[in-house]
Symmetry: C2
Subunit: 231 residues, 2 copies
DNA sequence: CGGCGTTGTATCGTCTATGGCACAACGCAA
DNA sequence: TTGCGTTGTGCCATAGACGATACAACGCCG
């Protein structure tokens, strides 16, 4: 169907949400040294920017040290708290961006056992442990490519020795080289592929080429199931 | 600082974005069998709902089979494509929700080597391979708890045998039991903790209690660095 | 002491998203 | 043929977000 997932991040606190727009504003204040110049350089109204800063400080605490009068008329500067806030915003945004970018393999299956948030799902590829919402049996299981680690069969950890609850033996059927990252397609059942995102360094180290036998492992806590329309 | 990350998902296509609101609308149409009743039950205006459906179909193709006149005056029904769209929307949303929920450990460090998207970051815990944006040396590395797998030292995969590029030996210092999931805190350096999200099943299987020696591994492709303010 | 560029504050106009409403078109059933 | 509940369409009202403008307060500096 070819849709592109997109997202908006916000950092919430006390009912106020710091959005991308706010992030830009704070960054511009940091850059320009004054609330006025920041609004100007962003093409926004000073009045609104000022009100917004007050609003944000109401919820997040002191963010901008503002002073009026004095040499040059005054100016503004970000507090350490504001910088910290920007940093966590960027971190969160980077995480989300990672999710939006990396592709995933989706398997449909049926919940055959459940224990709180965790369920065992029977799929065409075998049984998968995944985080599952309550009250659903027909589910789609999504496995993000960056969550799948590939191991040489001889050195793959035994199920009892690792916290990776899902383990599938398979054979590499395709390697899609990027510059430094590569998508590896692993056949775990005839006609059933799992894709893993690994570094080209790993490709070379493990000697991954079509035909190579590998063991793919991924954690139950990194695997999510969602209810599937029973149409 | 105690902020709560939040997000809005959308599925984009041809410049139109299918939002949560649209998802609700389509679901209501599916439920109520008519566009009219759907708008009613959602407390929205029919006019706007109808126009929105047309807008969406402009971008996504046929979504709602609508018929007017006839027994009961007509009615509407979702197409298979619409159902598929809802399913992928839910999957994407579940992925994002997972990211927003699971906590992460953040390490600050310096890029000491770089190869395209991938960089080696020197941190207090050691060297970490992570996906890194271009043009930054002072970075914060974030490691999501659900991306960290714990292994028994004896059975931990050798660096050469796995695609998990990051590997740290440490000692369990805390286990925060949930119902079926648990957060395990691992000290990889004195005073430097890494948290992993694992199932309680794994806790028992690996015998994880404070003092247990473990090897924590996580993939470079699941680890992201972001530029840090050099204040 | 006046100038200057800033911060604060109030008010107004605009744009956009949305609900409210009116009315035509439709097609089956009584 | 009439009634009915739906879809389709146009127009207006409302609310919120935001820019534009104006003006007071501030405090160093020449």
């Amino acid at each position: 169907m070819d849709v592109s997932p997109d997202f908006d991040v916000q950092l919430g606190r006390d009912g106020v949400a710091l959005t991308v727009r706010d992030r830009e504003l704070l960054a511009a204040i940091d850059e320009d040294g004054s609330l006025n110049a920041a609004a100007e350089s962003l093409g926004r109204s000073y009045a609104h920017a000022q009100r917004r800063v007050v609003e944000l400080e109401d919820a997040f605490g002191s963010l901008v040290d503002r002073s009026r009068g004095g040499g040059g008329g005054g100016g503004s500067e970000l507090t350490d708290r504001a910088r910290e806030l920007l940093a966590t915003f960027d971190r969160v945004r980077a995480e989300f961006a990672g999710v939006a970018e990396t592709d995933e393999t989706v398997l449909s299956g049926r919940v055959i056992d459940r224990d709180g948030e965790l369920a065992t799902v029977e799929t065409a590829a075998g049984r998968i442990r995944a985080v599952t919402p309550p009250d659903c049996t027909e589910v789609g299981v999504t496995i993000r490519a960056d969550a799948v680690t590939l191991n040489r069969p001889a050195e793959a950890p035994e199920p009892g020795g690792t916290s990776a609850r899902n383990r599938f033996e398979g054979e590499v059927v395709g390697v899609d080289h990027g510059e430094t990252l590569a998508r590896v397609t692993v056949a775990v059942e005839p006609g059933l592929h799992l894709t893993a995102l690994v570094t080209v360094e790993s490709i070379e180290r493990l000697g991954l080429t079509p035909g190579t036998a590998v063991v793919a492992t991924f954690k139950a806590t990194a695997t999510r199931a969602v209810a599937r329309a029973e149409s």
